[in-house]
C-alpha cells in the first residue's frame, strides 16, 4: 500500500511538472508571437550612448548625423553627448558612468585622453557594456571594435600634400592639439614620417595648442612671428584648422604660407576656396557615426563583427578638385 501511495505521489508530481512545462512553453510561444507586434515598440528599443569629444564642431555634427541614420535603420535608441571642450576627460568619464547607469548596452566612445579615459572604459566593460571606439582611441584592450580614420595614414596623406607644393625649400611648422589625444599624435607621426624623407623639408617648429579657434590662432601667429621662414603649416583637426586659417587670413600670408588642414568645416572649405588653406584632409565622420551604431547593433544582437578595426576612408581635397562631383560629395555634407 505505501509503495502504491508513493507511486501515486510520483504520478502527481510528474503530472504537475508537465503542466508547469506546458504553461511555460505556451507562455514562451505567446511571448514569441507577440514579439512580432511589439518589435517596433518604443519600450523594446535597445539603448546606445554616443560619447564624443565635443558636440559643437561640424565634424561631430556629421558623426551624429551618421549615428542617427543608423539608429533609425537598426531601430536603436541613441543619445549623443560630449564635453564642452576637447580637453575635459573628467566630464567624459562621468558621462560613461552615467550611460552605464542609464542602461546603455553599448557605448560609442571617442577618447579625449588616451590614458585618462581608460579606467572608466574598463569599468564600463566590467559592468557588461560593450564599447565601440570611434575617431580617437583609448588605452584599453576591452574595446570591441575600433572605427576611425587610419590616423597615421591620414598624417602621411597630409605629408604627401605638403610634398606636392612646388617650393624649393619647405620650412614646416606644425600646430597640433592636445598631446594626450591619440589621434593627433598619430597624425603628426604619420606626417613627420612622410615629409622627413624629403631633402627639401625642414621642420622648423611644432606646438601643441588647446583645441579652440582662438588658442590655435594665437599660437600660429606667435609661431609665424618667431619663425618668419615658415612657408608650410600643417594642422590636424577642425578647430586648429580654423585657427590656423584665421591666423593666415589676419596676417595676410595666404600666398606666402601653404596650409594643410583637417576636416570639412564650412569655414575651412571657404578658406580653401579663398586660398588661405591649400589642402584639406577630409575624414568620413558620417561613416564613423553610422558604422559605430551598426557595430553596436551587431554587438547587441550577438552577431559576428566583420572587422574589429575599421578604417573609414580619408580624402585629400584641394582647391582644384573641390567642386568635382566626387569631391563635392565628400566635402559638403547634407544638412
Amino acid at each position: 500500500m505505501t509503495s502504491n501511495k508513493r507511486k501515486r505521489n510520483l504520478m502527481v508530481i510528474a503530472v504537475g511538472l508537465t503542466v508547469i512545462c506546458y504553461l511555460l512553453g505556451i507562455r514562451y510561444i505567446i511571448s514569441n508571437v507577440s514579439a512580432y507586434g511589439s518589435e517596433g515598440g518604443e519600450n523594446t528599443k535597445h539603448y546606445v550612448a554616443v560619447i564624443a569629444k565635443s558636440t559643437e564642431s561640424n565634424f561631430w555634427q556629421t558623426v551624429f548625423a551618421g549615428a542617427n541614420a543608423a539608429s533609425t535603420e537598426y531601430n536603436l535608441s541613441i543619445t549623443v553627448d560630449g564635453p564642452d571642450n576637447e580637453e575635459d576627460y573628467e566630464t567624459q568619464n562621468r558621462m560613461i558612468e552615467q550611460a552605464v547607469k542609464d542602461g546603455a548596452e553599448v557605448i560609442i566612445f571617442s577618447a579625449v585622453d588616451y590614458n585618462a579615459n581608460a579606467d572608466a572604459i574598463n569599468e564600463a566593460v566590467k559592468q557588461g557594456v560593450d564599447v565601440v571606439v570611434i575617431d580617437s582611441d583609448v588605452n584599453s584592450d576591452k574595446v570591441s571594435s575600433r572605427i576611425s580614420t587610419d590616423n597615421y595614414q591620414a598624417g602621411r596623406m597630409a605629408g604627401e600634400a605638403a610634398l606636392n607644393f612646388e617650393d624649393e625649400v619647405l620650412n614646416i611648422g606644425i600646430v597640433n592639439f592636445d598631446k594626450n589625444a591619440a589621434n593627433g599624435q598619430q597624425r603628426e607621426e604619420g606626417f613627420r614620417d612622410m615629409v622627413s624623407a624629403d631633402s627639401r623639408v625642414n621642420i622648423v617648429d611644432a606646438i601643441n595648442v588647446i583645441s579652440t579657434i582662438e588658442d590655435s590662432k594665437e599660437g600660429t601667429l606667435q609661431m609665424l612671428k618667431e619663425h618668419p621662414e615658415i612657408n608650410v603649416l600643417a594642422t590636424f583637426n577642425e578647430w586648429t584648422s580654423l585657427g590656423v586659417g584665421e591666423a593666415i587670413k589676419e596676417s595676410g600670408y595666404a600666398d606666402k604660407v601653404s596650409v594643410i588642414a583637417f576636416d570639412n568645416n564650412v569655414a575651412s572649405v571657404g578658406l580653401l576656396e579663398t586660398g588661405e588653406v591649400d589642402a584639406l584632409i577630409v575624414q568620413n565622420p558620417y561613416a564613423m557615426g553610422y558604422l559605430g551604431v551598426e557595430a553596436a547593433y551587431y554587438l547587441i544582437y550577438d552577431l559576428p563583427l566583420a572587422e574589429t578595426k575599421v578604417d573609414t576612408a580619408t580624402t585629400l581635397v584641394t582647391k582644384e578638385n573641390m567642386f568635382e562631383d566626387e569631391f563635392q560629395r565628400v566635402l559638403f555634407s547634407f544638412d
Binding site: A14, I26, I29, N32, Y36, V266, Y290, F332
Partner: protein, 577 residues
Amino acid sequence: MHTEENMNKSRIRKSISLSALMTGVVACIVIVALVTVLVVFIKLYENSMEQNSITSSEQAVVQVMNTVESYTKDMEEIMQMILANMEQESTVRDEFFHNLMQIRSDVVSVTTYDEAGEMLNYWSDELELKETVYQNLSYREIEEGEGMVISKPHVESLFADYYPWVVTISQRTQNAQGEEIMVCMDIRFSNIANYVDDVGIGQHGYCFIMDTEGNIIYHPQQQLIYSGLREEKTEMLVDLKDGAYPKSSVIYTLHTLENSNWRIVGVCYVDEMITSKVENMIRICMTLLGLALITALLAGLLFSRIFGKPANQLAEAMGEFEKDAENFQFELVKGTSEVTALSNSFSQMVVQVQQLMERVRQEEVTLRKTELKALQAQINPHFLYNTLDSIAWMCEEERNEEAVEMVNALARLFRISISKGQELIPLAKELQHAESYLKIQNFRYKNQFTYHFDVDPDCLHYLCNKITIQPIIENAIYHGLDRMIDEGRIEIGIHQMEDGICMSVEDNGVGMSEEQCREILYQDAGDRIGIGIKNVHERIKIYFGDKYGLFIYSELDVGTRVEIRIPKVEEGSYDIK
C-alpha cells in the same frame, strides 16, 4: 526456479513494451507533423513575405516618386511665376523675389545670365555673393527651345561660406527689354534628401535616386558609398524596366519619374525579414515539439500504468500459475475495464483449474485407496495353509499350548488386519500385529531366527497405516534370512524423530544391492509376497505426503535396514481424505 524466472523476464523485456511503442509512435507523429507544417509554413511564408515585400517596396517607391514629382511640379510652377515676372519693372521684380524667398525658404537663389553666360542679376535671401566666384555650378547653357531643365544635385557655390546642396532649374526666356536670358533657380535639395532618408522598407530597406545612366543622384548612405565602405550595384539596375525584381535576397523596385531621367529605386532585404521570422517559427516549433514529447512521454507513462503494468502483472501471474498451478494464489489485478475483465476471467479460470486438479487428485487417491485396501485384504494363502498346517501338526504332536498360542497369534493377526476396516490404527496394535506374525513364523521356521523389539513407549498412541511393519518383516524372513545358515536376527525399533516417527526393521541377512532396493520400492512385487513393500510405501505417501515413506539401507552379506517414516498423527487429528 530463479534462473527460469529471470529468463522469462528478460524475454518480456526484449520485445517492445506497449507504452514505449505508444510514446514512440506519438513522438514520431508529432515530429513528422511539425516538420511538415514547418516546411509548408516556411514555403508559404517565404512566398507571402516576398509578395508582401514587393508590395511594400512598390508602395514606398511610388510614394517617393509621387512626392518628388509633386515637389518638382511645385517648383516648375514657381519657375513659371518667375518667368512671368521677368518682364516686369525691376522694382516690382525685386519685391516679388523678396516675397518668394520669404515664403519658400527652400529656394536658395535665382540668377539670370545673358547669352554669353555672364551673370546679369541675382536674388537671394540676404546672402552675400562672393567677390570672385571660383566656379559657378548653377549655370548651365540652355539651348533654344530646350524648355525647362533640372540639374543634378550640386553644391551652391555662389555665396561666401555657404554650401548647401541644391538642384538647379533653368529655362530660357526673354526679359522686359526683349533680350534672351537664362533664368536659373537653385532649390535646396535637402527637402527631397530628408524625405528619401526617412523612407524605410522593411527592417533595413531603403530608397535611393539614380539617373537613367546608373549614376547615383542621392543615396541615404552616400557618404559610405563614396568612401567605398558600401556598395550599390547600380550598373545591374540600369537596363531594368520599371517594376519589382527579386534578386536572391534583395528585391529591387524601380520607377522612373515623369519628364525626368531620375529613377527611384527601392531596396528591400527579403532574406533577413524571413530568416528572423522563420528562426522564430523554428524556435516555436521546437518548443511545441518539446511539449509534445513531454506529453507523449507522460501518455506512455500513464498508459504503462493503466495498461502495461497490469498486463505485465497478469503475464507474470500466468507464468507462476504455469509453474505451480496447485499452490498458486491469484490476486486480482486492478486497471482499465479490459484488464479487470481479463483478470477476473483468469481468476475464475485459476479457481476452476485448481478445483479440477483437486478433483482429479481426490479421485485418484480414492481409486488408489480402494485398490490398496483390496490388496491389503489379501493375506498370502500359502502363509495361511502353512500356518494351519503347523497348527495341525502341533496338535498331532499334542503340543497343545503351542498350538493354542499359534491359533491366538493367528487370530490376532487377522483381527488387526481387519481392524473394522480402518486404515489408521495405533502403533501399539501394529506392533501386536507384527509380533503375532513373528511368533507364527518363528514356530514355523523352528526358531531359525530371533527377534527383538526396541520400542519407545511414548510413540505407541500415535497412528500409523495398518500392516506396514509386517510386509517388511515378511520380506526380511523370506529374502534375508531364509537362505542363511547362521542364526538370523530381526531387530524392530520404534523411535521418535524430529518431525515424526521412525519404525525400523533390521536384519542380518544376505542384504541387497542398490538396484534391488530401488526395485522393491518402485516395482510391483508380484503376488509372491501378499501386500508388497511397494504397497506400503505408496500408502504412506498417499496418506502423509512425499516426505514420508520407506527408506532402505542395505549392504550385501551384512544385512538390511528398512525405515518407515510417518508423521506423528494422533487419533482424531487426521481427517481421512
